[in-house]
């Protein structure tokens, strides 16, 4: 994958529109940034004939700002960012605004950043779906007073906090009323799958009664499943996920994973690129119908908000239908039969 | 060159009953040595006898296991080279210990730089270093700012000697100072050694060269396998007696009592076929 910014920005694209700069955050918190978003955004901008420079900061705040500096000095008309944290995000947005550049917060809201527009899935909602998914799977297993372990995302990632906020809002009442027992609860630095494996192995060693795992994304989920498989407990202990990766979907098909959260990234990307294209062509966007209140500054930001979808074995085919994952990738070798069983043709 | 001083009553530096082991290996056994002001004491002994170790014990590089060091009549504890320097003991080590990444002047003034306010006084140091080296017959140094890493063996040795004699010290110990020196430089160093003693300092000279020992020393102390074999006036012994003391620890009525090998160094390998035992 590569960006389309192949000649240096003189300011005007082929269709008389200005150039758009996009900064994605990392590749570690989720695979989407390097695969899905990049592709969809690129396609959308190419289709509209708008020049775009799309870069990834690799989780490095300094790099994030350096990229922004570069885009600003290259003369972009619109800057779309997925911030790594609100502080750097705000610094970048402020600098862009001073340079007279239109700004879009993509996927993550920059607190007090005062971006012109905001496009996102609701991350707390993602967490809620995960929590609900786990509740459903545990209900299906009919465990009484199951111990639930939580494998949170990176402690340095603000989104991980939002996800946790979401699933804890579902699970905490269950803990308090005694339906579930609260098990170990740990963060995985850098969303590192290897460390996740060790962390979960130790959770299981110290509490053999774990009956459900709330894993914040598919990578962490897979790490937990690996440990469960070693103990032949896979399939009996429901594990959640997020991102609808091939790995996660395969684990769902195999019955090892209970659910994942599919964020129709294409929709999000399309919504954001429409905004950006309009701004680049110096038109007033019409799609931002909603608003989001910045909890810090209290300002209302014009927004496009999308809803995430919970995916279980029953609706894996929806992801295929959306072309988010191809059948060839998913239904390789031993999964062919499982795919067929799940109604994927 | 040698003059006759009345021998002073008390030694300036006195070492008594020093033991030193490295792990399981005992290198010094109950060693004693007296250094008198105004005299050159030659310390002789075979390779590996323990001369350098003794020097390092005195200068605070090694800590002694037991025994006492008396300086100027007071018992002292020398734990670091700083302590030794504070007492006025200056040493030229056999393994010269120069900083290869510094130049000649920087090495000579290391640890005692001249300053003006906060700033190093390079001109003064350069001047003093030049004067001292010139007095030691150094003629082939390309520049006083040459790194010592690029000096020849003899040049390094001269720098080390010059470094030790720059200071107003009371005891100067030189461990094989002339080993790498040329003919002229050797003569200069021996003359310097004599001059230091004549100025009232206590000088210890370690050397394997008997001519040098007899040329400048007033007393000779001999070590044999880590023990004091004898400490005598140079004028009382002959060349061959000293050699005998060095190689077998005894010479006539001088030296150690007849040996019992198992008593000496626990694990000495006698490599000469038919040697000890």
């Amino acid at each position: 994958g590569d960006s389309s910014g192949d000649d240096s920005g003189s300011g005007s694209g082929t269709s008389g529109a200005g150039k758009v700069g996009v900064i994605l955050p990392d590749t570690k918190s989720s695979a989407r940034w390097a695969t899905a978003d990049l592709t969809y955004l690129k396609e959308a901008f190419a289709a509209a004939g708008v020049e775009a420079d799309i870069q990834n900061a690799q989780g490095d705040k300094t790099a994030f700002q350096t990229i922004a500096d570069g885009m600003i000095s290259a003369g972009v008309k619109v800057l779309m960012i997925v911030n790594l944290d609100s502080g750097t995000g705000k610094a970048v947005l402020d600098k862009a605004r001073k340079a007279g550049i239109a700004t879009i917060d993509y996927d993550r809201l920059t607190l007090s950043g005062n971006a012109d527009y905001y496009v996102s899935f609701d991350n707390v909602k993602v967490g809620e779906l995960q929590g609900q998914g786990l509740v459903d799977c545990l209900a299906e297993k009919k465990y009484t007073k199951p111990v639930v372990a939580e494998l949170n995302g990176s402690p340095t990632d603000n989104n991980a906090t939002l996800f946790a906020q979401g699933y804890d809002s579902v699970l905490d009442p269950k803990y308090t009323d005694g339906t579930y027992l609260k098990g170990p609860n740990q963060d995985v630095p850098d969303w590192d799958n290897t460390q996740a494996g060790t962390i979960f192995e130790q959770m299981l060693t110290s509490n053999k009664e774990i009956k459900g795992v709330l894993a914040a994304n598919d990578g962490l989920g897979n790490a937990a499943i690996g440990v469960l498989r070693k103990n032949k407990l896979n399939g009996q202990v429901p594990v959640t996920g997020q991102d609808a990766t091939v790995q996660g979907l395969q684990n769902i098909l195999a019955g090892d994973q209970c659910m994942t959260v599919y964020k129709a990234i294409k929709k999000e990307a399309d919504a954001a690129s429409q905004l950006a294209i309009a701004l680049a062509k110096e038109q007033k966007p019409t799609t931002a119908t909603g608003t989001t209140k910045d909890p810090e500054s209290g300002k209302d930001i014009p927004s496009v908000l999308l809803t995430p979808v919970s995916i279980t074995k029953a609706n894996v085919k929806d992801v295929i239908a959306d072309n988010y994952v191809t059948k060839e990738e998913l239904c390789k070798a031993e999964f062919a039969k499982l795919c067929a069983d799940a109604g994927i043709s | 060159m040698k003059e006759n001083h009345p021998v002073p009553a008390t030694p300036l530096l006195e070492i008594n009953g020093v033991d030193k082991s490295f792990g399981p290996v005992q290198v010094l056994h109950d060693v004693g040595l007296s250094v008198y002001p105004g005299e050159v004491t030659a310390l002789v002994g075979d390779n590996g006898a323990g001369k350098s170790t003794l020097v390092k014990c005195v200068s605070g590089i090694y800590t002694i296991d037991s025994g006492s060091v008396t300086f100027d009549g007071n018992q002292v504890a020398i734990h670091t080279p700083r302590d030794a320097a504070a007492l006025g003991i200056e040493v030229v080590y056999q393994d010269l210990a120069l900083c290869d990444n510094l130049d000649i002047v920087q090495n000579m003034f290391l640890g005692r730089e001249k300053v003006r306010g906060l700033v190093l006084d390079e001109p003064t140091m350069e001047q003093m270093a030049g004067d001292t080296l010139a007095s030691l017959s150094v003629r082939t140094v390309k520049s006083l700012r040459q790194l010592v890493a690029s000096l020849s063996g003899g040049q390094r040795q001269t720098v080390a000697i010059a470094k030790a004699v720059l200071w107003n010290s009371r005891v100067v110990i030189l461990d094989e100072p002339t080993a790498a020196l040329g003919v002229a430089q050797t003569a200069q160093v021996l003359e310097l050694v004599r001059r230091l003693a004549d100025n009232g300092l206590g000088v210890v000279l370690i050397s394997h060269n008997m001519n040098d020992v007899f040329a400048v020393s007033d007393r000779v102390a001999a070590l044999y396998l880590g023990r004091t074999a004898a400490q005598v006036k140079t004028s009382d012994v002959t060349h061959s007696q000293i050699v005998e003391l060095i190689t077998s620890g005894r010479s006539g009525n001088l030296g150690l009592p007849p040996e019992k090998p198992s008593d000496l160094n626990g694990g000495v390998i006698d490599l000469t076929p038919g040697g000890v035992q």
């Binding site: 290897t194 897979n222 990766t245 395969q250 | 694990g267």
Partner: protein, 418 residues
Amino acid sequence: MTTQTTTTAGGVTVVKPTLAGHLHDYWGRVRGGDLGSLPAVLGLVVLSLIFGVARETFFSPLNFANLFTQGAQVIFIAMGLIFVLLLGEIDLSAGFASGVCGAVMAILLTNHGVAWYVAIPVALLTGVVIGLALGVLIAKVGIPSFVVTLAAFLGFQGLLLVLLGGGINISIRDEFVISLNNNNIPVLWSWILAIGSVAGYAFLQFSRIRARAARGLVTDPLGVVALRIGGLAVLVLATTAVLTQERAVNPAINSLKGVPIVVPIIAAFLIFWTFVLGRTTYGRHVYAVGGNQEAARRAGIPVDRIRISVFAIGSFMAAIGGIMAVSRASSVDPNTGGSNILLYSVGAAVIGGTSLFGGKGKVINAVIGGAVIAVIDNGMGLMGFSSGQKFIFTGLILLVAASVDALARRRAAGAGTR
């Protein structure tokens, strides 16, 4: 103390070795600061006790078995790093090199459906090629290893992303590869291997004595040899006894016993590389170049080739570490070999007693140091701290383990061998 002497080959008279003499010498060496890996082992014991008291599950057979599989990647990488460190060089890229090699294997297995007996050798070869390239840049072009491997650290991180198509995870399903760092050897075979290895060691010891005696050289007293063999036997057999216990979380569902497969693999590499370093010309030359490169060059040792070779060994072992990591996670992601893996590996080597300045170190250091790291990681996992606390305590514990070592060695300063 009176010592008996004896005569050995060449008419050389030496002190006759006795058991008492050996012990006395050892104590003298310890007092003199020559401690070998004793402090690290001590640190290991202290740490285990602390964790064992804090969480009783720490001493369960299940947790004990986990230790090996959790520590495998670091131990393998550290083993390779020992060679690099022996030369006073550093390899910052070892972590991501292991990730790249693991990814190569995973891609071959999963995306190309290749068999494990092809995928694994290709991954190992990738490791060797990486090491050779690094070595050539360092030895022939003359760029400092820190810079070359820093560049490689960045490069491999990128390569891993590119190989994984920009950040997706690749799962592996190959039973053989997964078994490597997950499954166990059957109980019977566990015992056979354990007893066999002790017997083999005893045989080697005695045949060495016989050979030396035949040449009229000094031999170790029988008591010392018996102590050594006995020590090893106790260690190996006790470990085997624990690991052959049933340790499944739910024995009704699944039985889990036997020595983890990774244990004999570690042991094999430990023995092999110890042999190479201690008993071959190559190993001797590695120490020589590390101790004094100029002296080695003057002795006619091909310094450049030695330098290249250690990087090849380093990356080869990193590849094995990568394979183990992929096996354990049954998947590879852009962070495999990243995070703290590299620092942990170098730390393992250094804690085990290897010097960063070259010339001093043994392969066993990697295993002991790796064990310290694994115990800390494992114990911290049981404690249930928050991430922040976990980092802090990990740091503190590392410090404590290292202090045991440092304080024990401080006597060395008195002996002038600092």
